[in-house]
Symmetry: none
Subunit: 236 residues, 4 copies
Amino acid sequence: MTSQKRSEARKEQILKAAEKVFAKNGFHEATISGVAREAGLSDATIYEYFSTKEELLFSIPRETTRRGMERMAGYLKAIRGAGNKIRTIIYHYLLFYQNDPDYASVVMLVLKSSRKFLETEAYQVIREGFRGILTVIQEGIDSNEFRPDTDPYLVRQMILGVMEHIVIRWLLLGKPKDLLQYADPITDMILGGIENRNPTQGWDLHIRLEPQGGVGGEAGPQVSKAKRKGSSRKKP
Amino acid sequence: MTSQKRSEARKEQILKAAEKVFAKNGFHEATISGVAREAGLSDATIYEYFSTKEELLFSIPRETTRRGMERMAGYLKAIRGAGNKIRTIIYHYLLFYQNDPDYASVVMLVLKSSRKFLETEAYQVIREGFRGILTVIQEGIDSNEFRPDTDPYLVRQMILGVMEHIVIRWLLLGKPKDLLQYADPITDMILGGIENRNPTQGWDLHIRLEPQGGVGGEAGPQVSKAKRKGSSRKKP
Amino acid sequence: MTSQKRSEARKEQILKAAEKVFAKNGFHEATISGVAREAGLSDATIYEYFSTKEELLFSIPRETTRRGMERMAGYLKAIRGAGNKIRTIIYHYLLFYQNDPDYASVVMLVLKSSRKFLETEAYQVIREGFRGILTVIQEGIDSNEFRPDTDPYLVRQMILGVMEHIVIRWLLLGKPKDLLQYADPITDMILGGIENRNPTQGWDLHIRLEPQGGVGGEAGPQVSKAKRKGSSRKKP
Amino acid sequence: MTSQKRSEARKEQILKAAEKVFAKNGFHEATISGVAREAGLSDATIYEYFSTKEELLFSIPRETTRRGMERMAGYLKAIRGAGNKIRTIIYHYLLFYQNDPDYASVVMLVLKSSRKFLETEAYQVIREGFRGILTVIQEGIDSNEFRPDTDPYLVRQMILGVMEHIVIRWLLLGKPKDLLQYADPITDMILGGIENRNPTQGWDLHIRLEPQGGVGGEAGPQVSKAKRKGSSRKKP
DNA sequence: CATGAATGAGAGTTCATTCAT
DNA sequence: GATGAATGAACTCTCATTCAT
């Protein structure tokens, strides 16, 4: 038990060191020696806990991701409304990375481009998180909060896309200083594109012009009126 | 003259080989020997044209980017309306990558995470292209096509973010098969979030003349009225 | 402790091998592989102890020179008289090289022509040794053992010059077989040029019997008297 | 004829360039490309005139040495007295190197440590020159100008040793600024060790033993007394 | 457990040299 | 005669990884 715990702690210590070193240098430019030095251990000790350099890399997101997901789930439990949930997701996603730039670097600059990482257990956890976003969106569609023709996959791609783009810019260029300032604007823009707009004022006027031999007893144009907060988007 | 040309051709040949090899293996896993083999040349010959492996990598986007930018500029010249221009940009951006997956791989998976690449001449060309997007957005704001509170930087980040995200997914997962299918949906969603939709005054009267087997058994012209701040969406 | 010692021993082992290999082939013609083979180690192990080939080369004289200097200092302590000290220096200098031809080769044929070596720590030790020669000469001047118009720098250059010349000839041509046979003649010649010869007591009476057509029209034996303090020149 | 001459000129041009480049970088650090660049030619052209890099190196001293020797021989022809000849040799030797530091560098720092160079035709010329020094010394011994117990080989080694030492110091350290300032001191010291020495102070006692039929009214030995601090040094 | 020490396996570079033009 | 282009052949150096202690 104690031994297990100590071992766990050592692993954590190595992972923290690895995170730092990989973040700074990337995977290939980083060395096991560097990680060992950072961890205050010997090279060989690293190999007591991780079988290869690559396994060490792929182990970094395992715990952190799981914890992040859990935390996110906790936040979401208290939130009502798909839009609000999305806002929360975006906010905490950015907050999460902002609070741990090393982790952000490893994930965004090292792992994200790795084919092998996709086959990793850790990535499956992330995938699940991503599926969660999908669920929220679908929830919003079902509850009529989002427009029924919303494509959940596309929306998710937009959400992830912008966030990744911003985080990477932040990592590489240091801009913007504060990631969180983008949380709301991004959310607004995303939601702006998908939220159902109930007509708060004005009317849609539909006039039906019937041919001379009219159907039923009705003749002349038919006018239908509907309060709307209209979006006139029509997919082909 | 001939010598200059042959040298240029050889360079191109090496770059093509490098593109292929780097795309397949990434930068570090790729070897000069591999590139040389692919190019049908000796290792040493590679070094006659590019001083280091890194220089070879960074040289890949130089010409291609320039040409891509030029072509894009050509397309845009014929387009009127900021929205249409954005649609064009997105479409051709995706088309461009779809037509050259190796190039896409190198740019998206190898170069995009490189701090050093940002200081490269080639990247400056790309930056300029990115600035162009900004200009188009601003143009849309100025012409009242886009909402006045549009943040051009944010919009650009959304555009680039989704596209990058989609291209990377395509590269790593092979999904979607056809990148272009996303061009319009993305554009619509982006524009949906920024196009002016507030009726500034009066009413738009839409009259739809339906064939006899009309909607809901109804026939005749349909008139729809919507308060609006006009959207000029035109599909190509 | 043990580890430190073993490491030191390994370093020594590598240095010995390097000395041998560099002596035989010179710096550039020698390879790390060759040194490793000679040392019975792998190439990589060499680099565990010396960061570059050049550092390995420059490390060769570090210890040896220090030890040589120390030993020399010990010998000199027991010697009285600047002339005797110089004799001792020359003798042991030659003895030192004769006993370690590989070392001699490295120093005389490889290091001596190296601009970079001059900026080396090891060279500073050598410089100090050279300064010591200067001190001895000055001592001889001060004690009136050497002529007061002696230029210590010049004398030192002569001493070093001949010795280097002889050692190099010995290395390249194998002549003379025994370096030490030159120790005394060299010393005598050097001292012959600088020792004070003021007669401290009595007179030397030189009588020259000239043929009839004598100097200055004079004929008959010529007697020359010179005050002297005998020179210790002993030709075999 | 013209073609032969042009070829000779080209060779000379390459040699000059090589001299410069080898002097600056040493043999191994220098490249054929560097020589070609310096000569304003292509690499391949170098190989039209010299079959290998090494042959190029060894060709440098061929002409120069021959010319130097010839000139030296010319100077010596006009000089009487072995001491004076040695002074001349030392002076012109230093002058020669001082006037062409690149050549000095190549000879002193590159060729002098080369075993292979010793088997070179060019070196044979140098050897002959060295033999000349020996001859002069022997001449001095025979003429009683030098002490009969002088070891010509040793003296030559001293002469060459100091000069080499000084020239190398000059090349590597830039000291002394003016090589020639050492010409006389060196000569004096060398000669000081081997010249037949007149009493330096005190009295010369000359006794003239006259034949029986004495000259004038004087009879018996004539003694002339002269205070002197004799140096038999004669500057040219 | 921890590690010092050792190394196998390569990779990137460099250049002297060749040869067709 | 001159050279642009190409390359074979090394060599230095780096590191992830292993293993005896």
